[in-house]
């Protein structure tokens, strides 16, 4: 993992001191809430329906067990014992008191964490593949470049007041677990025909009220050009992005209005000036950062552990969990373990302080003390010996963390919705809970197979409903909560925007409607291997429409 040096420590400390002074000015009434707003937003502090909400950055979703323990402590000391992991690999606390926030930030700084750039119209926390460094088919570890971009974008003097927020995601494999096509800039590490490693740069993806899949602006960018090229894109966007209408201010709208060809020309022209300039990263610095992401000391093992096999034979429940929650590791004898934060009837992404501590302890015991946060609001232990999977599973089970539903119907992604968010039209969390209860039978979930359900409480799409296989969007009709259903979305390397299937359903009817969609799929699929999205692609919307609206 990356470790702060004196410079990283200094800037985070200085920012806390600065914010403490700003909070002081606010509490003393020297500045109004309006004047304070941009200052608190620079530190990830939002004012929500009932209280402040603090969003803490988890750069590229990587946490140490020590950091996780601090997050647990903060949940206990400053929140009501919970934290909420978000779709951008961050964590949110819903009940901090303003006067306490500087102390909270101090505690974060001690474990090399902060809340910088988790809000505001700046370059936000960089996200990456949660399997970075351990994925079997990885070309290079995206965390190296995510860290480089994190540092470059920290308090960037030119790009802190962009037309709108700006999100960058990276992946180092063909399988996209970081949804790079749905970001302002998506970066995929690739190999060209000569074997050289560089980047494919996608631009202009995003969700919100105008969902757009990013287009490729550069097929192959040499490594050393990364920062100059990013600077060129950001500069063009900073000058030309719309500022008159918040809904048209994201870079995706600029790319659409200029056209990809013209936009590319503008960026490439700017890039000719920046290439080779001061922003280009010195090789020594690249090497320094790379060294932090060296693999942990793996033991030399073989795949196919006997302990694992016999445990699978003996325990059906364990076998089911291995099937959905465990993935292939690049190192023989090891596995990647996903911890579902979606127990039946639970709040997606919520973790209690006790659960966070349990995960930290298990990470120390089984996974070199490393934890990842996924954009599906789950956690990952990146490197577990296959022979220890059963004991890890027992440990997770004690804490209710062994739900075997990763990538399945119960693994619902939901935004905070009307329970917390002042922009919401409708509740998300109780809908997620009700749907989760409908699919509480794990065997049934496994029979249904891979299925993503995403819920957003409004068109801002924080729950990524556009790219859920089944997406629910909260809308308001005459003061009542309704939910529009979209089908066929996906967030992987074949990213698709889902299509609205028909008129919206009421709060009470929507869980049943989701069930109808799933039942229709089960009746119509060719065989058990045809997943929901594949079946939808083959069948189109008609059978689902018929089933949903037949009785209306």
């Amino acid at each position: 993992m990356y470790r702060y040096d004196e410079f990283d420590h200094t800037i985070v400390r200085e920012r806390v001191v600065q914010f403490r002074e700003q909070v002081g000015r606010r509490l003393a009434g020297e500045i109004t809430e309006d004047e304070f707003k941009p200052l608190r937003l620079m530190n990830g502090l939002y004012l929500q329906l009932h209280a402040y909400m603090l969003r803490v950055a988890i750069p590229y979703g990587t946490l140490s067990s020590r950091q996780m323990r601090t997050l647990a402590h903060i949940a206990r000391a400053y929140d009501k014992g919970y934290g909420h992991f978000t779709t951008r690999q961050n964590i949110q606390y819903n009940w901090p008191k303003l006067v306490d926030v500087p102390d909270l930030l101090d505690e974060l700084a001690k474990v090399e964490m902060h809340a910088l750039q988790t809000s505001g119209n700046c370059i936000r926390n960089i996200t990456a593949d949660p399997y970075a460094g351990v994925a079997a088919d990885e070309i290079e570890d995206p965390r190296i470049y995510a860290e480089i971009i994190r540092q470059w974008s920290t308090l960037h003097p030119e790009f802190t007041f962009l037309p709108r927020k700006f999100k960058i995601a990276l992946t180092g494999t063909d399988t996209d677990r970081a949804a790079v096509k749905l970001h302002d800039i998506g970066i995929a590490i690739i190999r060209d025909e000569n074997g050289a490693v560089g980047f494919r740069i996608d631009v202009g993806g995003g969700q919100g009220r105008t969902p757009i899949i990013a287009e490729t602006i550069r097929d192959f960018l040499p490594k050393q050009d990364l920062l100059p090229y990013l600077e060129a894109i950001l500069r063009v966007y900073n000058m030309l992005g719309r500022r008159d209408n918040i809904y048209k201010a994201r870079i995706k709208i600029l790319v659409q209005s200029e056209g990809l060809e013209r936009f590319t020309e503008l960026v490439e022209e700017e890039f000719t000036h920046l290439k080779g300039g001061a922003v280009e990263l010195p090789q020594a610095e690249l090497d320094r950062i790379r060294a932090y992401f060296a693999a942990p000391r793996y033991e030399t093992l073989d795949n196919g552990s006997k302990e694992l096999e016999s445990a699978r034979q003996a325990d059906e429940e364990f076998a089911a969990w291995v099937k959905t929650n465990v993935d292939t590791h690049k190192q023989p004898g090891y596995a990647i373990v996903n911890i579902s934060l979606k127990p039946v009837g639970g709040i997606p992404g919520d973790a209690s302080a006790e659960e966070m501590e349990a995960v930290a302890d298990l990470a120390d015991r089984y996974s070199f003390g490393e934890i990842r946060v996924t954009h599906e609001q789950n956690l990952t232990l990146p490197s577990v010996q296959q022979s220890e999977l059963f004991s890890l599973w027992l440990g997770l089970k004690i804490h209710g963390l062994a739900t075997a539903n990763i990538g399945h119907a119960g693994d619902i992604i939901a935004c905070p919705g009307l329970d917390y968010c002042n922009l919401a039209n409708a509740r998300s969390i109780p809908v997620a809970q009700a749907i989760s209860r409908k699919f509480e039978n794990i065997r049934r979930q496994h029979d249904i197979g891979r299925l993503t359900i995403n819920i957003s409480g409004c068109i801002n799409a924080c729950g990524h409903h556009h790219v859920g296989n089944i997406g629910l969007l909260g809308v308001e009709k005459n003061g009542e909560e309704f939910y529009q259903i979209t089908l066929g979305g996906r967030a992987d390397e074949n990213a698709e925007i889902g299509r609205v299937v028909g008129p919206a359903f009421s709060y009470d009817d929507v869980p049943g409607a989701v069930e109808t969609v799933v039942e229709t799929y089960l009746q119509q699929r060719e065989d058990n291997d045809e997943s929901f999205v594949d079946a939808y692609a083959r069948l189109g919307a008609t059978p689902f429409k018929d089933a949903l609206y037949a009785t209306r």
Partner: protein, 169 residues
């Protein structure tokens, strides 16, 4: 409105002249690009320094070689949230090597001063006296910089690898 230059509140020798307003012949003035384009022939023959105001959608190359005639390029922050002038400032300094004064006007607030300075702005028309008075302390709140910009502060990438580089020789 207080002007801060070289870290101090200083009297402002320059006057902003609105379009259509009479321009004094013997005092330093700042005019819009429209005014400059319309009255260039007479403006170049004044005996006093002249400065130019850029709109946020203008790039310095519109001025061509005239850029180097100006003692001041004034760029606007219509609202603190509108960050186009940061790019304009960096381009003026880094690409066009403009060495005169680059001045910020408009919604110039204390908490953005460091960003402005890093982008090459060296004169600040600050609305609130308290913000102007806090200039030095505000600028000093952060001492570590993670990227090169138009100032001469050394970014950490250079500082970190200094030891390595000298060792290599």
């Amino acid at each position: 409105m207080p002007l801060v230059k070289n870290g101090e509140i200083t009297p402002d020798p320059w006057t902003h002249i609105a379009d259509g307003e009479d321009a004094p012949l013997d005092a330093p003035i700042i005019v819009s690009t429209d005014r400059w384009n319309a009255e260039r022939a007479s403006l170049v023959h004044r005996n006093a320094p002249i400065g130019i105001r850029l709109r946020n959608d203008q790039l310095p190359d519109e001025l061509g070689e005239d850029l180097y005639r100006f003692g001041v390029v004034a760029i606007e922050f219509p609202a603190f949230k509108d960050g186009r002038a940061y790019t304009q400032a960096r381009l003026l300094r880094e690409r066009y090597r403009f060495t005169g004064e680059v001045r910020a006007f408009g919604d110039v607030l204390r908490d953005q001063l460091l960003f402005m300075q890093r982008c090459g702005i060296d004169a600040f028309e600050i609305r609130k006296l308290a913000d102007a008075e806090a200039f030095r302390s505000t600028i000093g709140e952060i001492s570590v910089f993670f990227q090169p910009a138009a100032d001469d502060r050394r970014p950490v990438t250079a500082l970190r690898n200094r030891a390595v580089a000298s060792w290599a020789y």
